[in-house]
């Protein structure tokens, strides 16, 4: 039980620390800054978080499938992410997996543990994306170890429900 809390606290601190240097959209940037939204520093922080998640995902992708069956196709890999990887990291399974069978998968978590303590509804919606960057990297890293190049993005409509979109380009 304690392990989950440890990771949540660590993750929260990681985000807070990276954001401490770029508190809000550029105050002195003027009109252009406000239109751009996230500053360059914030985008860098998002990349750093995603990169961290990626490295962790790579290691997890190697360690987790030990007792599990070899993967026959892409869908099996995605199922592995939704069940085994999610359970190992968040102690619950992904709530839904949808695909268009053309390489795009949408993984939905209706009570994402990293967003759960924050709010329930629309409050803090703008803050939510930075708490999803690490997890996007995690998914991308695990896929990379399993031999799949992908692009992973996340979106939140209302906390704590979030969707991770995995796009696997066809070669």
């Amino acid at each position: 039980m304690v392990d989950t809390v440890l990771f949540e606290f660590l993750h929260t601190e990681m985000v807070a620390e990276l954001w401490a240097h770029d508190p809000g959209p550029g105050v002195s940037a003027g009109l252009r800054g406000e239109e751009a939204g996230a500053t360059k520093g914030q985008k860098m922080s998002l990349s750093v978080l995603e990169g961290m998640g990626f490295r962790v995902g790579q290691a997890l992708g190697e360690r987790l499938p030990r007792e599990m069956l070899a993967f026959r196709e892409e869908l099996d890999v995605l199922k592995f992410l939704c069940k085994d990887l999610w359970v190992a990291v968040f102690q619950k399974q992904m709530d839904s997996l949808r695909t268009n069978h053309q390489g795009t998968y949408v993984l939905q978590d209706n009570s994402f543990p990293l967003l759960l303590p924050m709010a329930s509804g629309l409050q803090y919606l703008e803050e939510a994306p930075k708490f999803l960057a690490f997890t996007c990297g995690l998914l991308r890293g695990a896929l990379c170890t399993l031999g799949i190049e992908s692009v992973v993005t996340a979106s939140v409509a209302a906390l704590p429900v979030c969707k991770f979109q995995v796009v696997i380009p066809k070669s």
Partner: protein, 109 residues
């Protein structure tokens, strides 16, 4: 029991390669490359049959190998991956990995 051990990355370059000093190194490097082709064949030929952990081993390339050796190798490789100081794609320089490989090769020479 083993005369040559190699770990090959996804991009087909060696992350780690070691052979017993008495044998010709070049010959082994060639053998490693040809075995990569065999690996590719086996992967593309895989059907939807029921598989178990041993499939990670892709079956025996030659009938005399011991799959327990492969398991030890894979476990050590996983430990290397989990080392925060190791960047995936680098040559493997872990002493623990070296020791494990030595223990697998020691029975031959």
């Amino acid at each position: 029991m083993a005369v040559c051990i190699a770990v090959i990355a996804k991009e087909n370059y060696p992350l780690y390669i070691r052979s017993t000093p008495t044998e010709n190194k070049l010959k082994f490097h060639y053998m490693v490359h040809t075995s990569l082709d065999v690996v590719d064949e086996k992967i593309s030929a895989m059907g939807k049959a029921l598989v178990d952990q041993r499939e990670l081993y892709l079956g025996l390339l030659y009938p005399t190998e011991d799959y327990k050796m492969f398991r030890k190798l894979h476990n050590s490789y996983t430990d290397v991956m989990c080392n925060p100081f190791y960047n995936p794609g680098d040559r493997i320089q872990s002493r623990a990995f070296d020791n494990m490989v030595t223990s697998m090769m020691i029975q031959v020479c």
